[in-house]
């Protein structure tokens, strides 16, 4: 305080500063007034801009924070979706495997049934073939007997057809035709 009074009310040579550190008194006054004016101007004109700038920056940062939060939420949602999808794929895989097993079992059962049926049919056919072969053998035998019998009969009849028999047959024909009207 003393120092300030000494500065303000110092006496002596006005070209010489009254203290080695402090400026002249008038200079302090002018400087002070100029500073007040500058700071006032700054407060009036620059401060709102600074405040606005700060607000804008705050808003931008908030927006970035909000965007980051949204991105995080989205990422989490995506991750959940992927996890869900993975779960679905696993379920689908299990479902496909189950269906494949079911189908394989059905095909196997069907194949077995068809095989059994075919075997039964083959057996039946073989039995029928055997029966037919037995019948055919019988038929062939009967046919052969009939052929031999008829051959023997033909030979016997041809041998017995002498001229007398031929004439009898001719006369018999003429008589029967003549009497047929």
């Amino acid at each position: 305080m003393n120092l300030m009074f000494e500065v303000l009310f110092a006496e002596g040579d006005p070209s010489q500063t009254h203290h080695w550190l402090l400026p002249e008194t008038a200079e302090i006054i002018y400087g002070g007034i100029a500073s007040v004016i500058i700071f006032s101007a700054l407060y009036k004109f620059a401060w709102p801009m600074i405040v606005k700038s700060m607000n804008a920056r705050t808003e931008k940062i908030q927006k970035e924070l909000d965007g980051a939060a949204a991105a995080r939420t989205k990422s989490e949602s995506d991750a959940a979706g992927i996890r869900r999808a993975l779960g679905d794929i696993e379920a689908e895989r299990k479902k496909i495997l189950a269906e494949a097993e079911t189908q394989a079992a059905a095909i196997l059962a069907d194949g077995r049934a068809r095989l059994v049926k075919e075997v039964a049919e083959l057996e039946a056919k073989a039995e029928a073939d055997l029966a037919a072969a037995r019948g055919r053998s019988g038929e062939e035998l009967r046919g052969e007997i009939a052929r031999l019998s008829s051959a023997a009969m033909s030979a016997s009849i041809a041998a017995s057809l002498n001229d007398r028999a031929q004439q009898d047959l001719i006369e018999g024909f003429i008589k029967s035709v003549g009497a047929s009207k």
């Binding site: 009849i157 041809a158 028999a165 047959l169 001719i170 029967s176 035709v177 047929s180």
Partner: protein, 175 residues
């Protein structure tokens, strides 16, 4: 050969035989010749063989029929064979016989027998068949050993079969 050609040949044969005045004999001889041609494979093969010259085939005909048939019949068969129509001889002759029978207002009756029939038997058979069918008949007897015994008569679509061969066939079927 086409039906028109067969008809033309049969008409030509008919007119020649009629012009010669021996149609009944010629048609009878040609009928028997045609049946022999049908039943004898060797004869059929020789007369239809195009590698044998026509005059040679005609010589065969003349040698076979010479002395056994009238000259007109021999010449007519020789004509057909020389023209390369031997294959159609039965059809031509059958048409001729039908024409000749129509001329006499008779129907052809073909009788097959294992042995030849006497004239008396032929006459009585013709009468019996005429009585049975109610038609006037032109009887043609063919000696066919394959019937074995008995007779088979064909009059138009009607067949009267009393042959040993048929009886044997029926017996075979029954066996």
């Amino acid at each position: 050969m086409s039906d028109a050609k067969i008809e033309s040949y049969s008409r030509a044969l008919f007119e020649i035989a009629q012009a010669e005045g021996n149609l009944p004999i010629v048609e009878d001889e040609l009928f028997r010749m045609a049946r022999a041609f049908e039943s004898n494979e060797q004869l059929r093969g020789t007369l239809t063989d195009s590698t044998i010259p026509a005059d040679r085939r005609q010589q065969v005909v003349e040698q076979l029929l010479g002395g056994k048939a009238s000259n007109t019949s021999v010449q007519l068969v020789s004509l057909i064979v020389g023209a390369g129509r031997a294959r159609d001889l039965p059809a031509i002759v059958d048409r001729l016989v039908q024409r000749a029978s129509s001329e006499l207002q008779r129907e052809v009756a073909e009788v097959r027998s294992a042995v030849a029939l006497s004239e008396d038997q032929t006459k009585r058979l013709a009468e019996a068949l005429g009585k049975s069918t109610g038609r006037k008949l032109n009887l043609k007897v063919v000696v066919d050993p394959s019937v074995l015994g008995g007779l088979v008569a064909t009059v138009g679509d009607e067949v009267i079969d009393d042959t040993v061969r048929t009886r044997l066939e029926q017996l075979k079927t029954r066996i």
